[in-house]
Structure formats: structure tokens, C-alpha cells
Amino acid sequence: MEVRDFSDISYAQFLKEEKLMGSKCKACKAQYVPPRPICIECHGSKMEWVELKGEGKLAAFTCISVGPPSMIAQGYNRKNPYCSGVVELEKGARVDARIEGVDTLKPETIQMGLPLKAKFLHRQGAEEGETDLVFESA
């Protein structure tokens, strides 16, 4: 595999390739998603890539009725809220992601701990080429 920086740009590039990648500290084995170039546990800087299965559970969420202009442009509004959540992955790493397949008009029915699976949403239009990490009910 080509050498890539442990960076946000590499993370986004991997998402485009439908891979969820993080970095792991060679010294203390701490694992980070998105990847970090510097270990915040032992302050080491020797990292290696790890690929995650993209399975997780819902650790926190919100259903947003008043979104920013970019979400409004995607058709979201008070009558059609979207869900953003924090997903706990394998080995305790967490990612922020959009959550699909839940009833955003009945947020009280959405269960904390809900098992989720990653999918990759390739966005068209203004930010063509960008891929968003989205999770849906497993």
C-alpha cells in the first residue's frame, strides 16, 4: 500500500474508497478514528493503519429540525429532520456520523445502543467527490 499521512485528508480519501480507517500507536497500541499522527496517550509518533469493520452502536444522537444551509439544500427541514449521532465502534473508538433508517419524527422511539453498520454516501453536486460516513440500523 502506498504511504499516506495519518491525516484527515487520508481519512476522507479512504472513505471515498469505502474503507473506514484509523491509526494505531505502535508503542502503546492506542487506536484512533479518524487517524492521528501523534499518540495522545504516550505522545509517540510511530503509527500504523488499522481498518475497522464499520460496526458499532449508537452512543448519543439528535434529530435536527433547524439545520445549516448545506443540509437544507439536501431537503432537510422541520418536517423532515435528519439524525446525527455519535457511534461507538469496536475497541471503544467513536465517530460522529449521520444516522439513517431511524424515524426522525419520532425520536423518542430511537434506542440508545442501537446496533449500526457503516455505509459510504458519495455526495454529488457542489462538493462532488466527497464521501460521507453514514451509519444505518444493522
Binding site: D8, Y32, V33, P34, A59, A60, F61, T62, C63, I64, S65, V66, G67, P68, P69, S70, M71, I72, R78, P81, Y82, S84, G85, V86, R94, V95, D96, A97, R98, P107, M112, D132, L133
Partner: protein
């Protein structure tokens, strides 16, 4: 480990001012800062010659975005006639002016300056609600923004984690909202000086006028549970869990402790200061507290040799109802998972044992983000000097008050303790 902090020399507050907070179509940042500044000058009991001010530190988060103008240090310095003396802008999202206050304190404590003006300003209401949401979201961590999180969304998500862990509900947050609205009715500078009861009455009168069916709310919580009266913004955060969009300014005059009595016989002393930084939702240690607030509190308590019980009242950063709850616990006023019970028991009301946000808080006083930190300290100043009028904390020997300010997703948190001697 936090080393015990101390100032190189003592620093005192000898004057303070704050503009009225609100949404002002015909007033801009300079008008609002001038209002705060002139009140500050008048508040210095023995008077002050503005020529003696050595420097300005000014908090501003994002007038760049909100009114398309940056570089506010010299603009304000020129406004008040301080040029060519130095003016420095500080930015820490919604904690921008708490950082200006700290820089002012450090500059005097180091011996470099003797008298420093610190302040904050923000002008947000000329943008639409959606644009303001976008502008504020610039201070989230990038992964949050990419996942669609707004600030109400970030705090909504934290609320779901807190509810799950401790069994609190939306109803508990309503106690906080009702209290903030009550306190704001007693604050002439507040943006929303209306109690929830007042708002219910207004809505019923409107329905009467339009000959529509009258709402049947029996109490404040029924009103707040009605999605037509209190629609969701970012569930579980509803409209009345969120602070408004605001314009406003605030400032304080700091001097070296040894010259404080030249300006007033009743200065306040900076006895505790702390600041922490944090990581955002994906990397924070836990979703039910803010590590940066806990760190800031530890520093400030260590410096002052005080414990949470010694703080007689506090302003706590309540950009959202859940934020007030979590931060009260992080500051040690209540144990983790205990805050909502204390609120339900009335402990944080104006007449309770630990009054919180006597000003009405960000929720009702308003939250012009760059002005907020020093406006919180302005409330502490007003209360400690016994000038809070109808909202005066009814305690004898009021001596120690504090203010907690947060920026971003807990990215910047400060805690500042003032003492009246």
C-alpha cells in the same frame, strides 16, 4: 496533575459595564461597546482618567462571519480614544471574552501594565437563524460539522447520553428553563425578560384576538411539552432549551491590586482562574461531562484554596439547558448525576442555597457570544457589590461569586472566581 497556580501580583476589578442585550436592527457593535464602556467609566467610584489605560484585550468570536468585518481590536480602541495603545483580539468561540479577561489579568500580574480594559462584543442578529447556526458551527470540531451537527445538535446528543446514564428527562431540563426565565424578569438588561407564565398569557391573548381555540396548558411544563408552543430544534433540545441570537457588548477595568483603592473603596479581587481545552464528541473521555470544565475548575479552586461549597452563587454557561446541568456538576456544585435532582428541589433558584444564573443566564439574558464571558463576570460584580436590585441574592455577607464560560464543544472552558473583601 495541576500545579497550584498563582498571580505574580494581585489584580482587582474596579469598574464594569454591559450594554443591553437583544436583537438591534439600528445598533452595531461600536454602538453597543460604547454603551458598555460609558457605563463602566461611570461605575468607577472615584473616577478614572482614560489616558491611564495601558491596553485593551477584546473578545470577539466571529464578527468576521456575522457582519463581514474582522480585526475588532483597533476598531474598538479607536472608538474609545485608546489609540495608539495596544489592542489585542482574543478568540475562543463563545468563551472569547473570558480569554480577554484572563489576558488582561496576566498582563497586569506580570508587571507589564498597571491598568487594562478588557471586553467583548458580538453582533449576530443581522443574519438569518440558519446562517447563525452555520456561523456558530464553525466552532465545532470538523468531524461534527461534517456529520451535520449544529450546536443545538451537539448538546442534544450530550443530553441523550446524560439521560441514559442518569435517568433524567426533558422535564428536568424544564425546571432550568423556568428558573432562567423567572430570573430574567428581574434583569433590566436581559433580552427575554419574560417568565414562562408571561409567555403563556401572551399566546392565549393572541389566540383570543384571532378567535382561535384557546390553548389548555395547566402549568409551565404543559406549555413546554406542547410541540406547537415549544417546537424541537435538535431533539431533545427544543426552542426553550436554547439561548437566543443576540447582539451585545461588555467590559471591565482591571488594575494592579496595590492601586485599586485609588479608584474605589470596594474593588473585587481575582482570586481564582482556570482554563481547560477539550476534544469534541468523538474523542472526549465521556459524553456526560466536560473534561475542560473540570480542569478549569481544578485550577481555579487550587489557586484560591476554595472548594465548590465556598462559591456562594455562580453564572454557568447555559447556551442550552443541558449545558447548565452538566457544568454545575463539573464545577463540583453537585455530584455527577445529582444536578437535576438539586434543580428540581429548587436549590439553584435565586432564593436557594446555590443560586445559578441570577442574570437569567445565556438563555434569557442573551448570548452575544464574544461578549458573554465578561457579561457573566459583570453579573458577579453586580451581585457582590449589592447592586442587583430585585434579583439580588438574598444572602448575608455575600463575598464570593464565580463565572464559568464555555466555547465550542467544550473546546475552551474557563472558571473565574471573584472576591469582595
Amino acid at each position: 496533575m495541576v500545579r497550584k497556580r498563582k498571580l505574580g501580583r494581585g489584580v482587582a476589578v474596579v469598574g464594569a459595564g454591559m450594554s443591553k442585550f437583544g436583537m438591534f436592527r439600528d445598533r452595531d457593535s461600536k454602538d453597543l461597546f460604547a454603551e458598555a464602556y460609558l457605563e463602566m467609566l461611570a461605575s468607577v467610584d472615584k473616577g478614572v482618567d482614560p489616558h491611564d489605560m495601558d491596553a485593551l484585550y477584546l473578545g470577539n468570536f466571529s464578527n468576521d462571519f456575522f457582519v463581514h468585518q474582522s480585526h475588532w481590536g483597533p476598531l474598538v480602541s479607536d472608538l474609545i480614544g485608546l489609540t495608539p495603545k495596544p489592542a489585542t483580539r482574543t478568540e475562543g468561540a463563545c468563551a472569547s471574552s473570558a480569554l480577554a479577561f484572563r489576558e488582561g489579568v496576566f498582563a497586569i500580574a506580570s508587571g507589564f501594565y498597571d491598568m487594562v480594559l478588557v471586553g467583548g462584543v458580538e453582533e449576530m442578529s443581522k443574519r438569518t437563524t440558519e446562517e447563525v447556526a452555520e456561523g456558530l458551527a464553525l466552532a465545532t470540531v470538523p468531524y461534527e460539522g461534517r456529520a451535520g451537527f449544529t450546536f443545538p445538535g451537539v448538546f442534544g446528543a450530550l443530553a441523550t447520553a446524560y439521560f441514559k446514564r442518569y435517568g433524567a428527562t426533558r422535564e428536568h431540563l424544564m425546571d432550568i428553563t423556568i428558573k432562567s426565565h423567572h430570573n430574567a424578569t428581574l434583569n433590566p438588561k436581559a433580552q427575554l425578560p419574560l417568565s414562562i407564565r408571561d409567555l403563556m398569557r401572551v399566546k392565549i391573548q393572541k389566540a383570543q384576538k384571532k378567535e382561535k381555540p384557546l390553548p389548555q396548558w395547566r402549568d409551565e411544563k404543559e406549555f413546554l411539552s406542547d410541540p406547537r408552543a415549544n417546537p424541537p430544534v435538535a431533539w431533545p433540545m427544543h426552542l426553550f432549551d436554547c439561548c437566543p441570537i443576540s447582539d451585545g457588548a461588555s467590559c471591565m477595568l482591571l488594575v494592579a491590586e496595590e492601586i485599586a483603592l485609588n479608584f474605589t473603596n470596594d474593588p473585587l479581587y481575582v482570586i481564582g482562574m482556570g482554563q481547560g481545552s477539550g476534544r469534541g464528541l468523538h474523542a472526549c473521555k465521556d459524553l456526560t461531562y466536560f473534561e475542560a470544565t473540570r480542569y478549569a475548575a481544578k485550577e481555579a479552586y487550587g489557586m484560591s484554596d476554595l472548594t465548590p461549597d465556598d462559591i456562594q452563587f455562580a453564572e454557568v454557561h447555559d447556551c442550552f439547558s443541558i449545558a447548565e446541568l452538566i457544568h454545575m456538576e463539573d464545577l463540583g456544585f453537585f455530584g455527577a448525576g445529582e444536578g437535576f435532582k438539586a434543580v428540581a428541589n429548587g436549590e439553584t433558584r435565586l432564593d436557594g442555597p446555590k443560586p445559578i444564573n441570577t442574570s437569567g443566564g445565556l438563555k434569557c439574558k442573551g448570548h452575544p457570544v464574544g461578549a458573554t464571558g465578561i457579561s457573566q463576570l459583570y453579573e458577579v460584580w453586580t451581585q457582590l457589590r449589592g447592586k442587583a436590585g430585585k434579583r439580588q441574592v438574598p444572602k448575608k455577607n455575600l463575598r464570593i461569586g464565580a463565572a464559568h464560560n464555555l466555547g465550542g464543544t467544550g473546546g475552551t472552558c474557563t472558571f473565574t472566581i471573584l472576591e469582595r473583601r
